[in-house]
């Protein structure tokens, strides 16, 4: 019976502490929530930054190239077989190029047979030139590089006659593209049309691949391809993949340090707030002691109070942090962020530690407090 009474008194005091000191409570809860939302938001963001940036850096285009070693071109069967070496969800672009020399007007140009969708994926930086028509490639159409347009005077909508051997194709210029590189001097048509012109039915001279992966991953894929297809050579475009490695590392460590700074400073800020609220509880402790509470009772009460606050603040903060990380990921990378469950125990741990430490402080005060001195109002 007496035991029951003690328990109900404990809950009564806890309830009292929560409801009678509402403003203070809101402040404490708010502080803990801020700290834990930062912890969960920042760690969620950090956990995803590498894979997100990896994807973004694919804007530099192909990082692997597969060429033929001999004269024989790459067949459709080989192309399909090679594609299987890449994991689908990591393969950003896979574009076979078939080369040919064609006559267009007075000059001879390099014609490239492509599938435009794949081409765009390995060359995301290539855009339409000024007044460039539209960036599409249907049957009976061709795209021309900017310099080709300047040299031949062809503009979007014009009909171009391209010749190779005795074959002639009449194609409509759909657009003028610009890269600043070699593409500006080439013409692009559908692979099937170039096959018609050349009379060959091979599918490619080279294949450009844009794949999300570190240099080592790419290296091992290239090795596998080289081992099983001796007539082909897969090579890493070092310029892209090597630079990517170093940039990625810079970005991740930058974000890591920034996140750490935000993390620590928020926690310290919140801890300072909680500490500052301690001193006003002297009187309360004095009163409880004078009514017969033991040091252990007070210690227990404050720790429970702190844990309860830490628990609620931690959960609220975790939820808020995930919303925050989601919002940041959506606005920076246009893609959702993976909610990581490991952040939940991390966040709870930190919020409980903050709340716990700052509630143990007033409890520790309890040991040294003389009720008479405190209640006399200093």
């Amino acid at each position: 019976m007496a035991h029951n009474k003690k328990i109900s008194m404990f809950f009564h005091m806890l309830k009292g502490a929560f409801f009678r000191r509402r403003t203070r409570l809101v402040i404490v809860l708010l502080s803990i929530t801020i700290a834990s939302s930062m912890v969960s938001g920042m760690s969620t963001l950090y956990a995803d930054i590498n894979s997100k940036m990896e994807k973004e850096l694919r804007t530099y285009g192909a990082n692997m190239i597969i060429t033929k070693t001999g004269k024989k071109q790459i067949s459709l069967g080989q192309t399909e077989a090679i594609k299987k070496y890449f994991k689908k969800d990591k393969l950003v672009g896979f574009s076979p190029y078939l080369f040919g020399n064609v006559d267009l007007g007075e000059d001879r140009f390099i014609a490239v047979g492509i599938d435009l969708n794949n081409f765009k994926k390995v060359n995301p930086y290539i855009k339409l030139a000024l007044k460039g028509g539209s960036y599409r490639l249907n049957d009976k159409e061709l795209l021309i590089g900017k310099n080709v347009s300047i040299n031949t005077g062809l503009a979007p909508g014009d009909i171009a006659k391209i010749k190779e051997n005795r074959e002639v194709l009449k194609l409509k210029v759909s657009g003028v593209i610009e890269s600043g590189g070699v593409e500006d001097d080439q013409v692009f048509i559908k692979t099937a049309e170039l096959q018609k012109l050349s009379g060959l039915n091979s599918s490619a001279d080279v294949i450009y691949v844009s794949y999300i992966g570190k240099q080592n991953t790419l290296q091992s894929i290239a090795k596998k391809i080289n081992a099983s297809h001796p007539s082909l050579e897969a090579k890493i475009i070092t310029k892209i993949s090597k630079s990517e490695g170093s940039i990625l590392q810079k970005i991740t460590s930058l974000v890591w340090l920034v996140v750490l700074v935000i993390f620590i400073s928020t926690i310290l800020c919140v801890a300072a707030t909680l500490m500052s609220m301690i001193f006003e509880r002297k009187k309360e402790i004095g009163l409880k002691k004078s009514l017969g509470a033991s040091n252990t009772d007070i210690l227990f009460e404050y720790i429970s109070e702190g844990s309860a606050l830490g628990f609620i603040g931690g959960i609220l903060g975790w939820l808020l942090g995930n919303v925050l990380a989601q919002f940041m990921s959506e606005s920076i990378f246009n893609s959702a962020i993976t909610i990581r469950l490991f952040t939940l125990p991390l966040t709870m741990f930190i919020s409980l530690v903050i709340a716990g430490v700052s509630s143990i402080f007033p409890a520790r005060l309890a040991f040294n407090i003389e009720p008479a001195v405190v209640l006399k109002d200093e």
Binding site: L30, K239, I247, K250, I251, V258, T266, A272, T273
Partner: protein, 427 residues
């Protein structure tokens, strides 16, 4: 009297005031770190992104870049050239300091064992004295930092490098050559005996090419002082509305807009300035590098902005709650002051001054701590100091004072509403 109360408030409640100052300093240092990083990250990352190589190609007007798919044309036939003597002028343009590196190329074909191979004359790591009197080193080594050379690089400065060549790894494999071997090149039936100095592993078209000193190829091909094209690696800023407007139609810019465009380090404006100084040239941004760089930098800068805003909000909330906590306990003091005749205004003035002082001290402490932290991050991530902007100091202090004042705002209404007897009675 006012200053005495103020003084006492700081000395008696020293611990509480210290807490407030520390907490504001935390918030302020966070803001300082983020502001400094935000202002400098574009520059720093831009430099890192230079590892992707050049972003501008300079070539003779309306000339195609050589692209080899195995045809039998002499790459030098019927071509126009850039004068090597003009190249130094690249370092005299408005954005000269943003030019990180550049390398000229001259490409032709030579025969080895009766087969054609492309050979390129270039600068490897050439020492140049630019018109300002400064000495710089530039060449492929700086423009293509991803090259791995087995053997040794060629140095333009030493006499010994005469007759040396770097060869691409594919050629080395095909002809079974290694550093130290001799390399007989035949150009137009004339024999030139070179020596392999190193093998280049570049992972690109360079693997199938031979590289020699520019002056040597000019002599072999009898084209003194001529250059086929130039790669330029420049630090640029991401494109904005103005840059896009220029791109759409250069004539649509007003003269002030043009001036602004000219004086901003966009890839296009740097290219424009290079065209101005090199006769008969056309400088074009290499979209793969220039556009991607712009895209990545914009992303990172945006991310830093969001993080900075977040840091700001979180430190503000943190400090605000601390202030709120402090105020609650001072109601008794306010009640007493009112009871002995202090006007609302006098009490508010006291609180405001106190808050401003706390904000000022906290802001200053935070500024120094934050600058130090930013430096630490700069060294850890980029191996270089972050450019600390003085302008950040007043901003940090102002924000700190504002935070401290805002934290105290809620008291003002409390003070006005307070009735001394309620408080002093001990509610």
């Amino acid at each position: 009297m006012f200053s005495r109360i103020l003084f006492k408030s700081f000395t008696i409640n020293l611990r509480r005031k210290l807490m407030a100052i520390i907490s504001i300093a935390m918030g302020a240092s966070l803001i300082v770190v983020m502001l400094n990083l935000w202002l400098d990250v574009g520059d720093k990352l831009g430099k890192e992104l230079k590892s992707y190589g050049s972003n501008i190609v300079v070539k003779p007007k309306s000339q195609a870049l050589p692209f080899d798919i195995g045809t039998d044309v002499d790459p030098l036939e019927g071509r126009s050239f850039i004068d090597e003597s003009d190249l130094l002028k690249i370092k005299t343009i408005f954005w000269a300091n943003n030019i990180v590196a550049f390398a000229p190329y001259l490409e032709t074909k030579v025969k080895i064992d009766g087969r054609d191979y492309p050979v390129i004359g270039t600068w490897f790591n050439k020492k140049l004295v630019i018109p300002t009197g400064e000495t710089i080193h530039t060449g492929v080594k700086a423009v293509k930092p991803w090259w791995e050379v087995k053997g040794s690089w060629i140095s333009e400065q030493s006499k010994k490098s005469q007759g040396s060549a770097l060869i691409g790894q594919n050629i080395a494999k095909k002809l079974n050559l290694k550093p130290g071997d001799s390399l007989p090149l035949i150009y137009k039936n004339k024999n030139n005996n070179l020596r392999v100095s190193g093998v280049v592993k570049a992972g690109g078209l360079e693997d199938t090419k031979i590289f020699v000193r520019l002056d040597e190829l000019q002599k072999i091909a009898n084209l003194p002082g001529k250059v086929g094209w130039v790669d330029v690696s420049a630090l640029t800023v991401p494109e904005n509305e103005l840059a896009r407007k220029y791109e759409k139609n250069p004539d649509s810019l007003s003269s002030t807009q043009f001036e602004k465009w000219y004086c901003t380090a966009f890839t296009k404006s740097i290219a424009f300035q290079i065209e101005e100084v090199i006769r008969g040239s056309e400088a074009k941004p290499l979209k793969q590098v220039a556009d991607s760089e712009s895209f990545i930098l914009n992303k990172i800068q945006f991310m830093m902005t969001l993080l900075a805003v977040l840091a700001f909000v979180s430190s503000w909330l943190g400090v605000w709650s601390l202030m709120g906590a402090g105020v609650l306990e001072r109601s008794k003091e306010v009640g007493l002051s009112k009871a002995i005749g202090a006007s609302d205004l006098a009490i508010i003035a006291l609180f405001i001054t106190e808050a401003s002082l706390v904000g000022l001290i906290g802001g200053l402490v935070g500024y120094f701590a934050g600058s130090g932290l930013a430096q630490l991050i700069g060294y850890n991530v980029f191996g270089r100091a972050i450019d600390i902007k003085i302008a950040v100091a007043p901003i940090a202090v102002m924000i700190s004072v504002a935070i401290a004042l805002l934290g105290n705002l809620s008291i003002v209404s409390t003070i006005v509403r307070l009735k001394p007897k309620d408080i002093l009675h001990g509610a």
